[in-house]
Symmetry: C3
Subunit: 336 residues, 3 copies
């Protein structure tokens, strides 16, 4: 694809030869002839000098940072994402049900949908137009998956759960397992049947081995445009607001509501029954134990060090109240 | 089902019209006509005023908190769990082996058991009466699953592992993968074959994507009535005592023994080779690095704050030993 | 197998009757007649006294610690690992493709390889000599798996990923799902296609439900001899150096490079875009937020206590900067 064709589709301005053709996207370091690369952050400018890319994408204020053929635009990272999508194209899918798949009576599978080898689709389930259910997936009875959504191999969607349009769900994700609900019965636990569903909006991506539990009575809700990385756990009755993104290994305990446009760092833990407002950023490895009513960034990372230093300062953590008491004593004596 | 029928089965006392019929359980907020709701905690009393439920379950000392038809009982939450079980009923299961499943020669499948589409049951495995092996499950050679247990779709049980009666195992759970055992061999690692099993008692529930490793030599043991949420990791040679419950994302490293009736909060981490006695509560996001010999609640949560405050106080953590030294100097000078 | 045969194969010296035969390995505590046990750490010497093992493996300096028939050697733990491997033997595998498996046209499956029940092998995938693909595994188009590697049941390998020789991959592992790459597009997220691969060297073990994401543009690389426990998350574009071992529940965020011969404790979290040099040990439950350029042990564990003590000292953490200010005030007054 020529640079001129790219800007015709995606906007931006070509500087240098518009007939240069590119076939792939690549990082500045690994790019070779035929590759289009990009500079999204100034700190990679050194790599720009040495790149073997055929052309690069740059911000307007970096327009003269190279002599290579280039496209200048407002947001090179976003532009690059779109070029990459152009090149990636849609993976070709053969519509139809693989002969080794099982589709129960009463399931509704759109003619343009594909059900992969060994997959199972329960009775009353509905698969919309161009849905791809990968090999060895399980779609429970009465579940519904909206048009253009794709389940990669080995995904489990429990009965009755709903996934919107254009979802991407990665291998090992489990949608709609029972929430962790039990009542004490003397010294034993009695299970509370989990009769709510998981309801997922449009344009959601769910990472590998992420789990989203069904609601106890009401539904667990994932709103439009939410992006979940791998190995995330969402407890029952949570609501995750639209366009919120969560990095890997994060946990959200039951009945917590997270607002729209939040960004949750890796391995954060958000306790149960909390309210997090819109536009909140939570740093990686931070535990949130109180509701957050004000947009902003929240952090709770305990510092690590070489083992000896850590042992030295951490020994004092346990005695902080006594240290504070000693300071108070000194202050009192001072005043005398 | 009429209120009078419910109390005939489960006890409690009807106040108001005993002929009121209910079909579903629901939360106070979302209940509508035909729904039975409940008040388990005083703080939801406001919702009781506004609920559209047909009837509610209440504690004896809340008997006059509403004019709706109601059932009063000792423990509304437990009562509610039992009503919900009544309504949920047993999911109907068609006994028999699905034609697309593979059952190896020498496996023993009770006539009342069900093996779902695409599932695999290895040679010598035993499935008890009314066991349900969901679609696309793997039950390894010689594994045994007790009566009335249910594996949801896409569960893996490795060879030789034992699951008791009435277990519920959710999608993506892996029972009996190799423990993480290696010996150093110069600069390389040599694998130690893991020849123990996982042995699971009766009435255990195991959440989605939870992993329980087989023992190195002896067995990993999960006692009766243990409840494990999602994405929990239990290392080799652990023993989890009866009726202990663990919330999601918790990790228990190898050879640790946890007592009976413990409650472990979400994302807690319990290091290896420890002993935790009975009736211990561990708070969410707490790391336990020493054995616990006394019942009680243990916590180790580092506080989070807005990012600026966190940076301010956390900067001092690294210098705590020096701060303590300065206090000591002041104290010494005082004494002079 | 007689002790004399074992030392003929593995070295070491028999003390006592070399004709004693052993059939199994077992721990000192659970060993019975016919079992070979071992003493790797002095603190188990008490168990040595009481063991019912037929023979034991000991370090040279413990040669007289028992009167049982015994093998003395340099490293009893490593020796024991090798004996256990002798006894475990290779699990017998029937070469060939199970009739219920699906192998797409253009896939290349070695004659000595085995593809289990229900497994799926995509077009252009290559399985080397003696590869075992377990029941219900998914091997994507163009993926390659080297000789003698074994995928346990229910593993997902995405298209184009490469696994070397002698790998062991446990159930639920997901190799090559998309990395978490998105560009902001106003208030929405635009996906960046992840077109790199996962490339895994030889002699790697990957635990149950561990996830390794494919690279965005370049590859995610796991070098030779790396050992990963369960539920580990490796982000896109990471490189894990040869012979590094990671315990369960650890997370490594995108683009981080970890050196060779590192040992990462359970539930450690390593943030993104970092460099960790060779021979680094990271303690369990430690978060690493800066690059590490010097070999050694690094820790960042916040201490846990009984709940009341924790509350007492943790309350002061949030006020550490003010406490430090009070100490400074006292010091200033002193100087006057």
């Amino acid at each position: 694809m020529r640079l001129s064709e790219i800007v015709a589709r995606l906007g931006g301005e070509v500087i240098g030869n518009p007939d240069v053709a590119v076939q792939r996207v690549a990082s500045l370091q690994s790019a070779g002839p035929g590759d289009l690369s990009f500079l999204a952050q100034g700190r990679y400018r050194g790599q720009l000098r040495d790149t073997r890319a055929a052309a690069v994408v740059l911000a307007r204020d970096e327009r003269d940072a190279t002599e290579l053929p280039r496209i200048v635009c407002d947001d090179p990272y976003l532009y690059f994402a779109r070029v990459a999508q152009l090149f990636a194209g849609a993976e070709p899918v053969r519509a139809g049900v693989h002969p080794s798949a099982t589709v129960e009576p009463g399931a509704s599978v759109a003619a343009s949908a594909a059900v992969g080898a060994g997959a199972y689709v329960g009775r009353g389930a509905r698969l919309g137009e161009r849905v791809v259910v990968g090999p060895l997936c399980h779609v429970g009875a009465g579940a519904a998956i909206g048009e253009d959504s794709r389940l990669h191999a080995l995904v489990s969607v429990y009965a009755g759960c709903v996934i919107g349009a254009r979802a991407i769900v990665h291998s090992g994700a489990v949608i709609g397992a029972d929430g962790f609900g039990m009542a004490r019965d003397g010294e034993r636990w009695t299970k509370i049947p989990q009769v709510g569903r998981v309801v997922i909006g449009d344009d959601v991506e769910i990472g590998a081995n992420t789990t989203i539990d069904r609601g106890a009575l009401d539904d667990t809700v994932i709103e439009d445009g939410v992006k979940l990385d791998n190995q995330i756990q969402i407890g029952h009755n949570c609501r995750i607001g639209a366009h919120t993104a969560m990095a890997g290994c994060t946990g959200v305990a039951g009945s917590t509501r997270i607002g729209r446009h939040c960004a949750i760092g890796a391995a954060a833990q958000i306790l149960g029954h909390l309210e997090i407002t819109d536009h909140v950023q939570i740093s990686s490895c931070t535990t949130i134990s109180h509701s957050i009513h004000k947009a902003g960034t929240y952090t709770g990372l305990y510092p690590s060090s070489d083992n000896a230093s850590w042992a030295r300062y951490t020994a004092w953590v346990r005695h902080l109240d006594r240290l504070a008491e000693r300071v108070r004593t000194l202050e009192k004596e001072k005043k005398k």
